[in-house]
Symmetry: C2
Subunit: 402 residues, 2 copies
Amino acid sequence: MDIIVQKYGGTSVGNIEKIKNVADKIIKTKNTGKSLIVVLSAMSGETNRLLGLAHQISKHPSDREMDMLVSTGEQVSTSLLAIALHEKGYGAISLNAHQVGIYTDKAFTKARITEIKSDKLIKHLNDDKIIIVTGFQGVDTEGNITTLGRGGSDTSAVAVAAAIKAEKCEIYTDVDGVYTTDPRIVKNAKKLKYITYDEMLELASLGAKVLMNRSVEFAKKFKVKLEVKSSYEDIEGTLIVEDNTKMENVVISGITQKKDEAKVTIHKVPDNTGVASKIFKQIGDKNINVNVIVQTSSVNDVTDISFTIPRINIEDVKNILENLKSDIKYKNYYIADDISIVSMVGIGMKSHAGIASSAFDILAKNEINIDMISTSEIKISVIVKEKDSEKSVQVLHEYFIK
Amino acid sequence: MDIIVQKYGGTSVGNIEKIKNVADKIIKTKNTGKSLIVVLSAMSGETNRLLGLAHQISKHPSDREMDMLVSTGEQVSTSLLAIALHEKGYGAISLNAHQVGIYTDKAFTKARITEIKSDKLIKHLNDDKIIIVTGFQGVDTEGNITTLGRGGSDTSAVAVAAAIKAEKCEIYTDVDGVYTTDPRIVKNAKKLKYITYDEMLELASLGAKVLMNRSVEFAKKFKVKLEVKSSYEDIEGTLIVEDNTKMENVVISGITQKKDEAKVTIHKVPDNTGVASKIFKQIGDKNINVNVIVQTSSVNDVTDISFTIPRINIEDVKNILENLKSDIKYKNYYIADDISIVSMVGIGMKSHAGIASSAFDILAKNEINIDMISTSEIKISVIVKEKDSEKSVQVLHEYFIK
């Protein structure tokens, strides 16, 4: 049985007309002879409507009840899509997380999938039914409804594809694929035919908003062939695969900018063992994502530590540093909130030397000052002033990708 | 553990303010030291909104998917009520049919409850939680969501009360109890303190709209003490009990009228065995409720058969009679759609002779012509012209109840 899993987001099923259009797209795939499982989000606006009702009652509603509440959105969209498929003469059945057996841990509003049962899915596929599964939701071992957090439906789709050993998991979205950079910034940004899981993971955490990291991690772990495609046009999207051997001469797959960050510099930190870990442990405990960390070499047993954090966490980090001052005895700290992280990602960097120095050269020639640098095997990130961010993306794209 | 089950209908939870009010009512009972299970309908309007979405897609959506769709309404109201109770400082948890274990047969949109598990209910009551259960819905043995049909939340509440052996099941509704007749027709209609299951069953099938028959049947079968109460005022309602020994001198408990009926008369039917059963079998097969049947004595081996049906079924019955004409060889038939069934119900009739003749006498004195009569042990029904219906109720109420 050749099984395709397709995922449609909230805007793709935002009203009755759109639901009928999705039914037509599904039927096109079905008519190629494939077995089909469709994972759906709630109709756009529905989740916010439900959240609004709850917040009229309580500023901090219980996570367990919020999941019970908002998970109804996907149950509505899936049953409506099943009805639309019936109306067009196709066998279809909607299944919620309980009915499939999508098990998660007990972390309400941000649960993680632990197991997906495949027996019911296989039974209905054998009956030649198109199965419509509620995205975003799961159940814990006690039968409580859980939800998977932002972008959860992508994760549901990949996890279902892994459980059923699907040939491919297609993510239908507003964009028609993964681009080398944001086409609003660089006009000749190119759609990628292939990208590796690792590159996609770096791009997602560095500002590309096509897929949530969790779904890509899942796809990588279970080797699920992922494709990002347009909900509206019937064209090829971008395949996310394990090994990009077909494009070995491509060095850089994507260039991103991340503008919502701030840079923290702690000045003259006594260079004792464990000082850095003390700082980053407290920041980590507050669930604050530290992106780039740079520590200068120690001079006279003091050092400077710089790192970036999301701008919304500036106050939290200030509090942490104030509290640590008597303990760590640094001299002072600065926070700059006018920075941007510009990153180049490419698995080809592994085998191409000199990419970093070329990049620095290009930026210097364009009079863009680099504040910090962080590199990994497949990534180079530079911190620049926010005002230079888009120009940095443009000149790097022009040089490395064209 | 003294357990009270309370059921609130859709208008009682129709908006956020009303949900907060219901939370207050629940807390009042909780504070008396009772354990509490609340059964809820969907917010009024929600079920119709969902039906509307489905009917934009299909004129005849599948029953299974419709149940999947509309059952979300109760999940929304129950989680919002749980949040409202938390906000007021009370432990509460919403549970859907799957989570409780409310099992039904597979008759989607009109399922019947087969079993309710009590273990989870008991566990949460032991944790001092107020449990909010989705009314109207169940699951079949394969985990499909089912719904119980019109008035299903009442049935859910009674069934939960039976399963958990509750002290009482309180049905909160727009009216504050069961009245001797419709107060809009008879000004001094009296609220009953008690009524028996059997009387309530007769009243419900004869036009009283307080409770659906199915919930009363369930209550009777499992001896659940039922109380119909006002959602808005904090006053005593009407208790529905097995044996009304406390009111043994009451003869008539209620007088109803049923205006949406029509009378069918089949004239000169050859009086062969099996003729009546032929007619009524075909009518029954179409799910048409025959209310009153009268057959005249046979003269010259022909007889007249009269019966009442809901007016909406007139065309169906016409078709059945036309098709049977060659077989049964009756002479002709008439249908009168300007009739009304006026009924008096009272368990006291069992021990009081002469009620029927008094009733006929009162009606005759008021120049009301009786077209047909049907009596049972605890009921007298007369068919009158629709124009005489309200006056009949008034004069009978004046004589038998005052």
